[in-house]
Amino acid sequence: MKRFRILLTWAPLCAALLIGCERGGTPEDGKPSATAATASTASGTSPIEDYRKERMKEAMRGLRYEKGYVELDPEQAPAIGEEVRNETYEGLLSKGRTELDSGLSVEAIGTFTRAVIHSPQLAPAYEALGDALITKGRVNESQAAYTSAMGVADDSAELRFKVAQNIQRSGDLDGQIAAYGRVLELDPNHAEAHSRIAIAYYYKEEYAAAWTHTHEAERLGGVVPPQFRGMLSAKLAEPTN
């Protein structure tokens, strides 16, 4: 099947966007056992995580994310492709969006995964998959999905904005500023991008730059969070010009 030979390689894009493409799972720091009453599973994870992990594992089956972009799993994807062969791409997208809007995140991830496998050359399922993954705290995988969406489709400011939001979640202030800056490259009138850049500069204690982007956001008809103005003013009086 031709579609399964498509290999999505957007590592250069990862580097260009200053996003981490090599990240793996949840970090573990080798925490020692706490008390005599410590309970553990054989694997050292909780059954609550096992249960959810099993559901997520099944939902995500068929795609791989380790390289920072989405790849078809050569062992799993062909069989899933056969399963969805008689379904339409649009139908899968619609179903997944309904599930996501109903709070059924895991089900939505499963459906969007199948949509990607159905038509890996199309971007919307990657983007939707990225949206769904973030609802389960899967920031790295979400970023990989957005990266793949950017790789197979025309670039868009909104997709770049989602990428920037994930970088914001990671706490990388410089990366955040750069990523929201890339939103402005495509849409210079994106007020919220200016607002987010202003907040990042505030956290970096670069208050003058924070004011600049605050004013830009407001000039474009957007608003910064109302509490932010007061907080910024407490650090640096608002420039008059």
């Binding site: 410590t38 553990s40 054989a42 059954p47 109903s102 705290g137 979640r169 505030y202």
Partner: protein, 599 residues
């Protein structure tokens, strides 16, 4: 934000009095913080976390707390919902597990929630059984009952995540209660005190859906959109429909649900949002936590507060309400309630007492209580934990620490009960404090089962088996009156509504008399007459033949006769009498006695 000053009195309590208030410019409430009380005693040293607690003015001596409980764990983790219950205002507690129906049980039953109904004094606990045949389960307790009833499945689903619940008056009937559970799939509603539940009404994508009920039955559900949105949706028709999302606030910072990188320790800290409603005027309040700034690569996370006086249409600008240390610590997982006097009571975790970096494994935390008497404009804080505790002592052997996802607090009358995890003893335990707000104890209306009322102090009311009402007296408050209660065995009893419902009965209304028309009874008619020959004939007519073979008891004066039911009827022929006599249907006893005259 002013830093509060606390004083330790001779009883080991923290007290804030007028002098302190004057010093800080704060308002006038007297706050007496009792010592810590551990409430998961039977859990031993096993892990416990993720607390919740509920109580109400409708039944202020009965308080319930719940948490994730690992007491059944052996080599592997087994998680259940631990529950602590007091029937005497926190003087003594018992703790136990509440599990779903057997068919829906699993090795992981968690995400506990509680609710209390201020109208009836009912309590609920509930949680999620995380399994394919699991879902959301709840159990209720009637006022005065010693135990919770058997749990019921509110929603059977393998995909449920974080639920919270609330109870309050129905939007269309001040004398009816509706119970709500909000979770990732939407809001489900019960109109029969939590026995049966409807299908979920989706609120869209989000997490941490927290329902609250306003004084007129309006329903508010706050949630987080996984991004910058602190959101809320509102229903004015009892949860049947919800309006569009309302933005309470916009976060400056955000992080993923599994991320705790903004905090000391190695646990996740999901940034969910919390609302509460003033039970008198419906003022809405919101508290959430967000990054205020970064210092030396450490995030300074604070509690942000805002308020709405138009049912959530508009909100004040969020502002930080917590005190802090230098360098600043993090404040997170707030839970707050508004009491009948409009005072706000808040509890939260706090890292201010230890100078520590966000990347430390051994995160040190305390628990705090704060009160505001001026609608959130100013707060006074109390440290509840004697020493900071180490989050690494979570009692679990996982790759990532876990100390739950939230805290709890209940308020009943002028007494506040925070509910929180602390590892101060080297293992994770659940604590509360009895925090009394106000001056000298005042008597309140104490309602008894027969509908009578006496103005008593809270403790005296409890000792006499009454139900105490905060902030009112018998002159101003009408105690629930007994009425006919149709029971499952088709008997009728005169009970107050809460007792009737807890007995599984149907309440026919206050003052309804069992001796009169009793629709609960399967009997259609009861007739008696005396024939000319002095034979008394009494007839009981059932509505159908389902009682054939059973006996009814009919008395003539004081003499009882057991009469079999055949073809839906029981007939008594008793001979022979003269003069006047009284014929009574003794069992079932739903009808007025009949006087008959014989020749």
């Amino acid at each position: 934000m002013r830093r509060s000053t606390s004083m330790m009195n001779r009883n080991g309590r923290l007290a804030a009095a007028a002098a302190v208030a004057a010093l800080s410019g704060w308002a006038s409430a007297q706050v007496d913080v009792g010592p810590q009380v551990r409430i998961d005693v039977a859990g031993g040293t096993f892990a416990a976390n993720e607390t919740t607690m509920a109580a109400s003015d409708g039944n202020p001596l009965e308080i319930v707390g719940a948490w994730n409980d690992w007491r059944r764990s052996g080599g592997n983790e087994v998680i259940n919902m631990g529950v602590a219950l007091t029937l005497n205002g926190g003087v003594s507690w018992t703790d136990f597990l509440v599990r779903p129906p057997q068919a829906n049980q699993s090795g992981v039953e968690g995400d506990p929630m509680t609710a209390a109904d201020p109208r009836t004094g009912y309590l609920w606990v509930g949680a999620i059984s995380f399994a394919g045949n699991g879902g959301i389960y709840v159990a209720r307790k009637a006022p005065g009952a010693q135990n919770f009833e058997a749990s019921v499945m509110a929603r059977t689903t393998g995909g449920a995540d974080k639920c919270w619940m609330a109870a309050g008056r129905a939007h269309d009937n001040p004398n009816a209660t509706r119970v709500y559970i909000a979770y990732n799939e939407g809001v489900i509603t019960s109109t029969d005190m939590g026995q049966t539940w409807g299908a979920p009404r989706s609120l869209g994508s989000g997490i941490g859906f927290l329902p609250r009920v306003g004084p007129n039955g309006e329903v508010y559900v706050a949630y987080w959109d996984f991004g910058n949105g602190v959101l809320m949706r509102r229903s004015l028709d009892g949860g049947t429909t919800f309006g569009n999302a309302i933005r309470i606030a916009t976060r400056l910072d955000t992080w993923g649900t599994q991320d705790g990188s903004r905090f000391p320790g190695n646990m996740r800290v999901p940034p969910m949002n919390y609302i509460a409603v003033d039970p008198n005027d419906g003022t809405l309040y919101c508290i959430y936590f967000d990054t205020t700034n970064r210092q030396n690569n450490n995030y300074n996370v604070d509690l942000y507060f805002c308020r709405s006086t138009d049912r959530g249409d508009t909100w004040t600008t969020p502002r930080v309400i917590n005190g802090d240390g230098n360098p600043p610590g993090d404040q997170f997982w707030p839970w707050f309630e508004v009491d009948a006097e409009g005072r706000l009571h808040l509890t939260f975790f706090d890292s201010r007492h230890t100078n520590q970096n966000d990347n430390t494994t051994n995160g040190m935390f305390d628990n705090y209580y704060a009160i505001s008497e001026d609608r959130g404009d100013s707060w006074i804080e109390f440290r509840l934990t004697p020493n900071s505790w180490n989050c690494n002592n979570d009692g679990l052997n996982r790759g990532q620490q876990f100390i739950g996802d939230y805290n709890g607090l209940a308020v009943a009358g002028d007494v506040v009960y925070p509910c929180y995890l602390s590892t101060q003893n080297g293992d994770p335990d659940i604590f509360t404090n009895i925090i009394t707000v106000g001056g000298e104890p005042q008597p309140g209306a104490c309602c008894f089962r027969d509908g009578s009322c006496a103005d008593l102090l809270r403790e005296d009311c409890a000792a006499q088996g009454g139900t105490w009402r905060f902030g009112t007296n018998c002159g101003a408050f009408s105690c629930p009156q007994p009425g006919a209660c149709c029971l499952n065995d088709e008997d009728c009893a005169s009970l107050i509504e809460s007792e009737c419902l807890s007995s599984g009965g149907t309440f026919l209304g206050e003052g309804a008399d069992c001796r009169n028309a009793c629709p609960c009874d399967a009997i259609k008619k009861f007739r008696a007459r005396c024939k000319d020959n002095g034979e008394i004939v009494a007839k009981v007519v059932y509505r159908d033949n389902s009682h054939d073979g059973e006996f009814v008891t009919i008395s003539v004066d004081s003499q009882n006769f057991n009469v079999i039911v055949l073809n839906g009827k029981a007939k008594l022929f008793a001979c022979c009498y003269t003069g006047g006599h009284t014929v009574r249907l003794v069992d079932p006893g739903c009808f007025d006695p009949i006087d008959v005259g014989c020749p």
